[in-house]
């Protein structure tokens, strides 16, 4: 069971975690919008936003190493996309600006996802009149994400314990079979879940 990377710190106890979810979502949106819409002449504001985000991170008692590692893990996507900006005249300033902005947005969203439980966010979506089918899909997805990730890891462990030398030529074939097995098990599980839901009075 090594899937605690999913939303590990969203159930901590801290002043930030106790705030209502609406407030946190609104704050995260405000941070992202401010940073995204910021003209490059207002670099001071970027500093202000980053200072407040760091204060929130300190108040929320999420370990620093986790935050840094999570942001660094997501950084390749940002760097890859920002790299395209390097190919035009005067691109390096744009590159630095883009990377700084994106890192701040990432930090804001990582803080949101680790201070708010997903079910609270789903409740917000429901209150915002998002179609019920989408909310049901999202909540079922969140509920069974952990189960399926766990199942994937069990299949991986089973495969590793049976293959002594990984054959590179057949690696893709084996992986694809694992994915197909995962789908078959998923659809069987969906049938069982439907039967169980009906048995409990789901209409």
């Amino acid at each position: 069971m090594r899937h605690d990377f999913l939303d590990r710190y969203s159930r901590l106890h801290s002043p930030i975690h106790r705030l209502p979810a609406v407030l946190k979502l609104a704050a995260a949106l405000a941070v992202v919008l401010t940073v995204v819409l910021l003209p490059p002449s207002r670099v001071v504001l970027l500093g202000a936003v980053s200072a407040s985000l760091l204060a929130i991170a300190w108040l929320s008692r999420i370990p620093w190493r986790f935050l840094v590692r999570r942001v660094i893990l997501l950084e390749p996507f940002v760097l890859g996309a920002a790299m395209l900006a390097l190919f035009q005249p005067g691109g390096w300033r744009l590159f630095l600006f883009l990377v700084a902005k994106c890192t701040l947005c990432l930090l804001g969203m990582v803080l949101l996802s680790n201070t708010t439980t997903f079910s609270d966010l789903l409740r917000l979506l429901k209150a915002a009149r998002v179609p019920a089918l989408l909310v049901t899909t999202l909540s079922l997805m969140y509920r069974y994400l952990f189960v399926l990730v766990d199942e994937t890891q069990r299949m991986k462990r089973a495969r590793l314990s049976r293959t002594f030398t990984p054959q590179r030529t057949w690696a893709w074939h084996t992986m694809a079979t694992v994915v197909s097995q995962l789908f078959i098990r998923t659809s069987e599980r969906a049938e069982r879940i439907y039967a169980a839901m009906c048995a409990r009075g789901w209409r």
């Binding site: 997501l74 996309a81 994106c102 995962l182």
Partner: protein, 322 residues
């Protein structure tokens, strides 16, 4: 291909948000009308499956690895509208829980991967598998559609980045399309292998009527078609012509141009054109067409390998008698 926050300007973010909301709305309505209640839990489970499958790494040369995106796989297994919902759910969870893909770019990501990549990919799958029947046709069509969907989503993504003036057209398009033409080969191969493995183990799960049955209402096809065409016209038209870009034009016509927040960073894109642009367009188009033909041939031979005895199967229609 997840666009992070900060790469799209406000007009692009709003336009893609509207396109994505319409596409997702049509898919949800379609599912509410036609999806049997038995399959409602499968939507959530399939979204979790796509998420878990994306975590399985396929080794590529040099210690790097890639993973499945799964839009076309989901569309083949569940049908286009359900697949659009599934992929949107995956993108929403990735954005809210993992900060993978920005929240201001959520609309763009859903439009690229959930609508263009999934529904557009399914349309190609539908077309090809109607002409080439049987399991062989199914694998061939899915492989080709998976490649096309990756490239189409990449082109839409490049168009959005260029429309936001973040990156110039002549940088964004070749880089994104070129890289994703390679990545798409992997996506096609994995999709084919997974479908062939499912067909071996549980052939009844490859639901022919969910994915390739007769399209029930023309309205949905029209709406999806108009959405994708609109997206391409807005974001990909500057590539094909030197007209003022579609969104600017629309903004001018609708009169909200003054209110729109200007480009975040003034990039000299408007006047940044390579000499001999017409040749470039022609050359790129020819290269793209040739690449597509090569991929189709590759998909054909892959399907031949994965579905042996395809000729004999063609006559007996393996879907009815697996």
């Amino acid at each position: 291909m997840h666009i992070p926050d900060g790469f799209l300007d406000s007009k692009t973010a709003v336009a893609t948000g509207l396109l994505a909301a319409t596409g997702l709305g049509v898919a949800l309505r379609q599912a509410r009308l036609h999806l049997p209640p038995r399959r409602v839990p499968l939507l959530g489970l399939a979204a979790a499956f796509v998420f878990a499958a994306q975590m399985i790494n396929f080794p590529v040369a040099g210690g790097t690895s890639g993973h499945l995106v799964g839009g076309v796989l989901a569309a083949v297994l569940l049908g286009p509208s359900a697949a659009a919902i599934v992929m949107s759910a995956v993108l929403i969870v990735q954005c809210l829980m993992f900060a993978d893909g920005g929240i201001s770019a959520l609309g763009a990501n859903i439009f690229n991967m959930g609508v263009v990549g999934t529904v557009g990919g399914w349309a190609i799958y539908y077309g090809v598998s109607r002409t080439v029947k049987g399991l062989f046709g199914c694998v061939l069509a899915a492989t080709f559609a998976a490649w096309c969907s990756t490239v189409m989503a990449a082109i839409a993504c490049a168009g959005e980045l260029a429309t936001s003036r973040t990156v110039g057209w002549w940088v964004a398009l070749p880089a994104m399309a070129g890289i994703h033409m390679l990545i798409g080969l992997g996506e096609g191969l994995v999709t084919a292998l997974v479908l062939a493995a499912i067909a071996r183990a549980r052939p009844e799960l490859l639901q022919p009527d969910a994915a390739t049955g007769p399209v029930r209402s023309c309205g949905v096809v029209v709406v999806y078609g108009v959405l994708i065409a609109l997206g391409l016209a807005l974001f990909a038209s500057p590539f094909a012509s030197s007209w003022p870009d579609g969104l600017d034009k629309t903004a001018e016509v609708l009169g909200f141009k003054q209110k729109a927040v200007g480009p975040i960073v003034p990039v000299p894109v408007r006047d940044y054109r390579i000499a001999g642009i017409h040749w470039s367009v022609l050359g790129t188009s020819i290269a793209g067409a040739a690449g597509t033909l090569v991929v189709f041939a590759l998909a054909w031979s892959l399907a031949r390998v994965l579905v042996p005895g395809a000729k004999a199967d063609n006559e007996t229609s393996p879907r009815q008698a697996p």
